[in-house]
C-alpha cells in the first residue's frame, strides 16, 4: 500500500516510509520444528537449514535456543525475525534476573509474553514472520506451547510447525504417550524428522535435538540421520506413468 501526497506544484510524492516499515514477505526461512513432552521434561528437534526462497543457502543455523533457566525456544519462518525475538527475550530475562529476588519467569510466562508480542505486531499489520515453539520445565511441571505469526497460541503435549503439522503430528498422535523415556522420545522425534527429510524440500540432513529438564538445557551437536533410497519406486520412478500426466 502506498500513500500519495499531492503537492502545490501538482507532482505527487510517494510516501515510501509507509512501506519500508512493514513485513511483506519472508526472505531467509527455517522449516519445521517438532517438540514433545516426555518423562523428565521437553524434547525439541529442528534441522539447521535456512532457505533463501527455493535455494538452501545456509546450512548452519541454530533454530533452537535456551531462554533463561527454564525454557527452550524453537522458531520456523523468517530467521531475522527470530533473531529480533531473541533480543527481546534477552532483555526480558535480563530484567527478570536483575530483580534478584528468588522469583523468575517460567516457560508459561515467556509463552504468554511472546503471544502478546506476536498478536500486537499482527494488529499493526507488521508481523514477526515466525511460528514459535516454547518448551520448558519449572518446579517439576513441564510446559509446551506454540505461537503463530498471527498470534494464535495454545499448549499441547506435542507440537509441530510448518510441514511438521502435516507430516509429523499424525505420527505423534498415534505414538506419543505420557512418560516417554528419553531414548523413546528421541527415537520418536527422529522418526518424524526422517519423514520430513524425505518429503519437505526445504529440509536438510543436519539436525539438532534439544532437551530441557529441571536441571537445565542441553542442545546436541549437529548430526545426520541415515536414509534409505533403495525402494523400488525410486529406481524407476516413471515406470507407472503412461502418457502425459
Amino acid at each position: 500500500m502506498t500513500f500519495t501526497i499531492p503537492i502545490d506544484n501538482g507532482d505527487a510524492v510517494k510516501n515510501a516510509e509507509a512501506d519500508s516499515q512493514r513485513t511483506l514477505y519472508p526472505y531467509v526461512t527455517g522449516t519445521s520444528i517438532v517438540a514433545i513432552k516426555y518423562k523428565d521434561g521437553v524434547l525439541m528437534a529442528s534441522d539447521m537449514g535456512g532457505s533463501y526462497g527455493s535455494t538452501l543457502r545456509y546450512k548452519n543455523i541454530e533454530r533452537i535456543k535456551a531462554i533463561g533457566k527454564h525454557s527452550l525456544l524453537g522458531a520456523s519462518g523468517e530467521i531475522s525475525d527470530f533473531q529480533e525475538i531473541l533480543r527481546y527475550l534477552d532483555e526480558l530475562i535480563l530484567n527478570d534476573n536483575m530483580w534478584d529476588d528468588g522469583n523468575s519467569l517460567g516457560p508459561k510466562e515467556v509463552h504468554n509474553y511472546l503471544t502478546r508480542v506476536m498478536y500486537n505486531r499482527r494488529n499493526k499489520f507488521n508481523p514477526l514472520w515466525n511460528t514459535l515453539v516454547l518448551g520448558g520445565v519449572k518446579k517439576g511441571k513441564s510446559y509446551l506451547g506454540m505461537v503463530s505469526m498471527i498470534g494464535v497460541s495454545f499448549e499441547d503435549n506435542h507440537v509441530a510447525t510448518g510441514f511438521g503439522n502435516h507430516l509429523a503430528r499424525p505420527i505423534l498422535r498415534d505414538e506419543w504417550h505420557a512418560d516417554l523415556s528419553f531414548e523413546d522420545g528421541v527415537k520418536l522425534l527422529e522418526k518424524c524428522m526422517r519423514v520430513l527429510l524425505y518429503r519437505d524440500r526445504s529440509a536438510i540432513n543436519k539436525f539438532q535435538i534439544a532437551k530441557i529438564t529441571e536441571e537445565g538445557v542441553t542442545i546436541s551437536q549437529p548430526y545426520s540421520l541415515t536414509t534409505f533410497w533403495e525402494f523400488q519406486a525410486f529406481h524407476n520412478p516413471t515406470a507407472g506413468a503412461q502418457g502425459s500426466w
Binding site: W99, D101, N103
Partner: protein
C-alpha cells in the same frame, strides 16, 4: 517536632540532613486508625479498626483486595490510600495479562516504593500521606510488607500502624516468634487480639473490626461478622484476667508516645 525554616518544601534539606515534609507525611500515618498485619509461612492476615466519622455514617474501607493473592491495609489519608490501591490493582492486572501469572508481591511493593519516592523529589508534588501494609504471595510463600510515605519499604513478620498501634505492636512483639508456624486459625485469633489491644478498654465487638485473610491455597477474602464474633467469643471469657495484667505494662509505653495528644488534632479527612 517543631516548625522550622526548612520544612516548607519537600525539596529542601535541613542542615542535619532531614526532609521534614516527608517526616510530616509519616506523622499523618500515625493519625489514622489502626491497621494490623501478621503472617505465617503460608498465610497473611490483615485487620483494622472500623472507625466512622460520626454515628450517622458508615465506616471507611481500609482494607482492599489488590488481587487474589495480594491485599493491602492502609492508615492515614484514605484518599491517597485509595489511589495507591487502584495503582496496585492496575499493576497486578497488567502483569497477569502479559504473563498469565500472578505478580510477585515483592516486586509490587518495589514499584509502589519507587512511586512514593518520586513524590519526595519534586517541588510540585507532596508525599503520599498513607502507610500501606501489603500482604501477598510470591514463589517463596507468604510475605508482609510496610510501605512508608518516604519511599522505603520493609518486610515484617507482623506489624501495626496508625493510632494506638504501639499497644498492638507490644502484643505482637511478645508473640511473633510463633507466627511462622501458626495455623490459619491461630493467626486470625492473634490478629483480632492485636486489634483489641488498640481499642484499650472498649469492648471488642465484631462490628468494630474488619479482618481479611489470604493464603497459598486461599484467595484473598474478608471474614464475615459471624466468623469474627465466633473467634472473639473463644477468648472473651479470659479477657478480664488478661486486661488486669496488661494494665500495668501499658502505662509506660503509652506515655512516651504523643499518640493521645495526636487524637485531638485529627483532621476530618484522616481516618
Amino acid at each position: 517536632m517543631f516548625r522550622n525554616q526548612y520544612d516548607t518544601d519537600v525539596t529542601t534539606w535541613s542542615p542535619t540532613g532531614r526532609l521534614f515534609q516527608v517526616e510530616y507525611a509519616m506523622e499523618a500515618v500515625k493519625q489514622g486508625s489502626a491497621a494490623i498485619g501478621l503472617r505465617s509461612r503460608s498465610h497473611v492476615v490483615l485487620a483494622c479498626v472500623n472507625k466512622a466519622q460520626s454515628e450517622l455514617s458508615s465506616h471507611q474501607r481500609k482494607i482492599f483486595k489488590v488481587d487474589d493473592h495480594i491485599g493491602v491495609a492502609i492508615a492515614g489519608l484514605t484518599a491517597d490510600g485509595r489511589v495507591l490501591s487502584r495503582y496496585m490493582r492496575s499493576e497486578s492486572i497488567n502483569h497477569f495479562f502479559t504473563y498469565e501469572s500472578p505478580l510477585p508481591v515483592g516486586r509490587l511493593v518495589v514499584h509502589l516504593a519507587d512511586k512514593a519516592q518520586v513524590c519526595t523529589q519534586r517541588s510540585w508534588k507532596r508525599p503520599y500521606g498513607v502507610g500501606l501494609l501489603v500482604g501477598g504471595l510470591d514463589e517463596s510463600g507468604a510475605h508482609l510488607y510496610y510501605n512508608c510515605p518516604s519511599g522505603n519499604y520493609f518486610e515484617y513478620q507482623a506489624f501495626a500502624i496508625g493510632s494506638r498501634s504501639q499497644a498492638a505492636k507490644t502484643y505482637l512483639e511478645r508473640r511473633f516468634e510463633s507466627f511462622g508456624e501458626s495455623s490459619r486459625e491461630d493467626l486470625i485469633k492473634d490478629a483480632i487480639l492485636a486489634v483489641r489491644e488498640t481499642l484499650q478498654g472498649e469492648t471488642l465487638k465484631s462490628s468494630l473490626c474488619t479482618v481479611s485473610i489470604l493464603g497459598v491455597d486461599e484467595p484473598f477474602h474478608f471474614l464475615d461478622q459471624e466468623e469474627i464474633q465466633k473467634v472473639i467469643d473463644t477468648f472473651e471469657k479470659v479477657a478480664e484476667e488478661e486486661d488486669e495484667a496488661e494494665g500495668e505494662a501499658e502505662a509506660a509505653p503509652a506515655a512516651a508516645q504523643a499518640e493521645q495528644a495526636g487524637d485531638q488534632d485529627v483532621a476530618p479527612m484522616e481516618i
